[in-house]
């Protein structure tokens, strides 16, 4: 590994934390309304981050072009979020505040996030709710007409706003409607069914993108003054995850190869409550919202190898292990803690079901206490979804759940302005690494996506646009020629191999390596092994993959092949990052670094930094840059939920 370079400047403001965002905004250059229309901004992605950013920038007067893979911006992966969105409104009068949300998020992230960013997130959280309510997002209400809340893991206050079990859908429809309003005003050019395949840089500055039109196969060039990458997370590197099928690392990875550093790629969130794997036909895993842990109790049989039906296991022979091990947070411990605890139970033979890789989530007590109707009101659609997939009725028998890959805290490294190490390229939402450290708290991704898109990027984008550093070129510039030629050559190569293995089969193999060795529990030896296995698989991919069809029409296999090819490179970086991080923190658990009772052992002395990797070429080790993290407010302590 090459020596680390300390050039990374987070441009984080100093001074009292509560004034930083206000002061920073004042210090940023403004662009007057009449001049904004002279700037063209590309927004890649229409999830919560991209949809809200594109709409807001257009409202402010910028010329915006918006891209997404799906046939409509409304279908971005954000649509699937179920449980809710946090905000420190303190409507429940239970002691919440901006500071507490900030504190919970820094602590929940196991002290691996940047304090200034997290504070800002907490500060704008309330405005997000205001904005969404004004757009007509049908948040849950109390009888008096006021907004209702529920609790989520990692917090002892009730600060989560929700719209039944479809919060992501409703927030996304809100952002989408704001976006479409700008389409109708002529301020946004909307180009769905496009996949960004190259970032174009001129003298190292982001100047546009090349996208593939997924219907015609044509490569299209788009020049702009700034590019906002809002392309979501990379959980599908594991093949099985709760992410939508099109979620990918491609856009971020292509930017990484053009100079954007990738930060903390090994920080992956494994969500504790998902429907267990049922067979090798499976193409995705389905999340059962964390909100269920408000009322559901997690347990396993106290004796290993107990195969009785749940109803036949008396109370005294059940182990409600979360309540036992973490009495103060109980079933609402953060996700990393809950997931690891269930893995431990299963490793020790107390797992249930025919695979032994599941635990119970039981609603019997809640139904007895509040009645079936109340439970139906709260979780009706989730229960229905569960029944549809498993054929079992969770009102009668406990749910079976197991952890699954869900979210990725890592992402492109960004400074306080959300600008990457490529000037003019910004990253928003799950695509960046900014706010969640080593573990994200439930209901905080929606908050971050909308904070980035509605409030942060629209203000900070002037850090580039007014910097005098803008490189606007025509699409005939050699940099566009080159980027397009590169993208075409890659597709042609993929189509020409005609080997004996499907894209999906190779992806599945990669996923297995990642899950076994770069998943919930990692070791030095395993990670080294993973790296050599990934390299071998990558070679096999490029000699054995079979991609049917042609480039010149809708070709889902070709799209998928391009994404899997990038996962094959990216997986290695994840393993490298996990190998480098000789500590356990948040979602990253190194077997060598644990306390006596199996809890994560963090090493602040040596690893209180964000690891930002710089690409050196495929088959070469990336080089490490560190952003040192200092904690002026929330002093690092051993995270305890006991």
């Amino acid at each position: 590994m090459s020596a680390f370079n300390s050039q990374l400047n987070s441009h984080s403001p100093t001074g009292p934390i509560e004034d930083r965002w206000t002061n920073h905004r004042f210090d940023l250059n403004l662009i007057n309304p009449a001049n904004r229309r002279k700037f063209k901004v590309i927004v890649v992605g229409t999830g919560l981050a991209g949809g809200s950013a594109a709409a807001t920038l257009a409202e402010m007067g910028y010329e915006v072009t918006s891209f997404c893979i799906q046939d409509s911006p409304r279908r971005a992966h954000s649509i699937a979020a179920q449980g809710g969105i946090n905000a420190s409104k303190n409507y429940q009068n239970d002691g919440d505040s901006t500071y507490r949300l900030f504190y919970d998020t820094v602590k929940g992230g196991d002290f691996r996030a940047r304090e200034s960013n997290v504070y800002r997130l907490a500060q704008v959280s309330g405005q997000i709710i205001d904005q969404c309510a004004a757009q007509g997002v049908p948040f849950a209400r109390e009888y008096g007409g006021y907004l209702a809340n529920r609790s989520f893991g990692g917090a002892q206050v009730s600060r989560t706003f929700y719209a039944r079990g479809q919060t992501g859908q409703q927030l996304l429809i809100g952002a989408y409607s704001a976006l479409m309003r700008q389409v109708s005003a002529g301020k946004v050019e909307l180009l769905p069914r496009r996949e960004m395949v190259e970032l174009v840089t001129v003298d190292g500055v982001a100047s546009g993108v090349v996208v593939r039109n997924l219907i015609t196969g044509e490569y299209e060039r788009h020049a702009a003054d700034a590019v906002l990458l809002c392309t979501g997370g990379y959980g599908n590197v594991f093949f099985l995850s709760t992410n939508a099928q099109a979620s990918n690392v491609t856009a971020a990875w292509r930017c990484h190869k053009k100079g954007a550093y990738f930060a903390n790629p090994c920080f992956t969130q494994i969500h504790p409550t998902c429907i267990p794997v049922s067979g090798d036909h499976q193409s995705k895993l389905t999340l059962m919202s964390e909100s269920l842990r408000n009322d559901g109790r997690v347990w396993v049989p106290a004796k290993a190898g107990d195969t009785r039906a749940p109803a036949d296991i008396p109370e005294s022979e059940r182990d409600y292990y979360l309540e036992r091990r973490y009495p103060s947070f109980g079933n609402l411990v953060p996700r990393d803690v809950a997931s690891r605890a269930s893995k431990l139970e299963c490793d020790e033979g107390r797992g249930i079901g025919n695979t032994g890789l599941a635990v119970y989530l039981d609603f019997a007590d809640a139904i007895k206490r509040d009645g079936e109707d109340a439970i139906r009101q709260r979780y009706g659609n989730l229960f229905q979804m569960y029944q549809m997939i498993t054929g079992e009725d969770p009102y009668r028998t406990p749910m079976r759940i197991f952890p699954a890959v869900h979210y990725t805290m890592g992402g492109l490294w960004v400074d306080y302005n959300l600008q990457t190490t490529v000037p003019g390229l910004f990253a928003l939402g799950e695509a960046n690494f900014s706010d969640h450290g080593a573990n994200r708290l439930g209901a905080s991704a929606l908050m971050q996506g909308l904070s980035d898109g509605y409030f942060v990027a629209p203000a900070t984008i002037t850090a580039h646009l007014a910097s005098g550093n803008v490189k606007r070129v025509s699409i005939d510039h050699p940099a566009f020629e080159e980027a397009e030629a590169h993208a075409k050559a890659r597709s042609n190569k993929l189509l020409s191999i005609q080997g004996g293995r499907t894209v999906e089969g190779l992806h599945r193999d990669l996923g297995q390596i990642m899950w076994d060795m770069v998943g919930m529990s990692r070791s030095g030896a395993g990670l080294r092994d993973a790296i050599s296995q990934i390299r071998a698989l990558r070679e096999e991919f490029w000699s054995e993959v079979r991609v049917p069809g042609e480039n010149s029409h809708l070709n889902p296999s070709l799209e998928k092949a391009g994404r899997v090819a990038d996962f094959m490179e990216f997986g290695e970086l994840m393993a490298q990052d996990a190998l480098n991080r000789e500590e356990s923190c948040g979602g990253h658990f190194r077997e060598e670094h644990q306390t006596e009772d199996g809890e994560a052992a963090r090493n602040d002395e040596d690893f209180s930094y964000a690891a930002a990797w710089e690409h050196q070429g495929v088959d070469k080790e990336a080089s490490l840059n560190k952003e040192d993290l200092t904690f002026e407010y929330v002093k690092p302590s051993t995270r305890s939920y006991k």
Partner: protein, 250 residues
Amino acid sequence: MKLTLQIWRQPSAEADGNFEIYTVGGVSEDMSFLEMIDQLNRQIVLDGGEPVAFDHDCREGICGMCSMVINGEVHGPIKGTTTCQLHMRSFKDGAKIVIEPFRAKAFPVVKDLAVDRSAFDAIITAGGFITSRTGSAPDGNAILVPKEDADQAMDAAACIGCGGCVAACPNAAAMLFTAAKVTHLGSLPQGQPERRARALSMVQEMDSQGFGNCTNERECEAACPKEISVMTIAQMNRDYLRASIAGDEA
């Protein structure tokens, strides 16, 4: 299980299409319908053919991408589900299954089972929003919304924009889709200022996108995976009528 599939194949929007027959084995009843098609596609690819193109993304019934007509039924035989939520335990071993794309003039086929639903985006662009600039909103609790109104709005807002209502309608009308949005926003206090203008311009756009007229068949409601009620259509008709009488600007 082993199945016989009769699937609509059409190379592109311009090309003619036809049904092809396939057999697929090794289907487990825990598979989702789309996983069964994945299985078929693996087989086709390894045999040197081109897999069946179809739209899908979330595979959990919320994104609205998947869009198949299965044995003549939009999203298949189970009520209140999308194609991706349908599981093979709903079919018998040896079954013959006919699979077609959503068919409507306003939804041209892109390839095989994938169709172009951008006409829906056009309807939303015509007025499916509340004008509220980022940064201008009052405190969330400053606008009280009675719980019943919020619930009614939410019922309508559950629409996933899949287009199943259009595919099920003998006239290929987009009434349920449009009405769901009109009702969602019109049920809330925030949506009142633009209520009539919204109904008027969305209905006009619906017509100009080539959707058919509503003749109260109620097939849309029966097919809707989110079970959106046709009562929303009555609501939209009232708003539209009021707007027309008042001569509101669209």
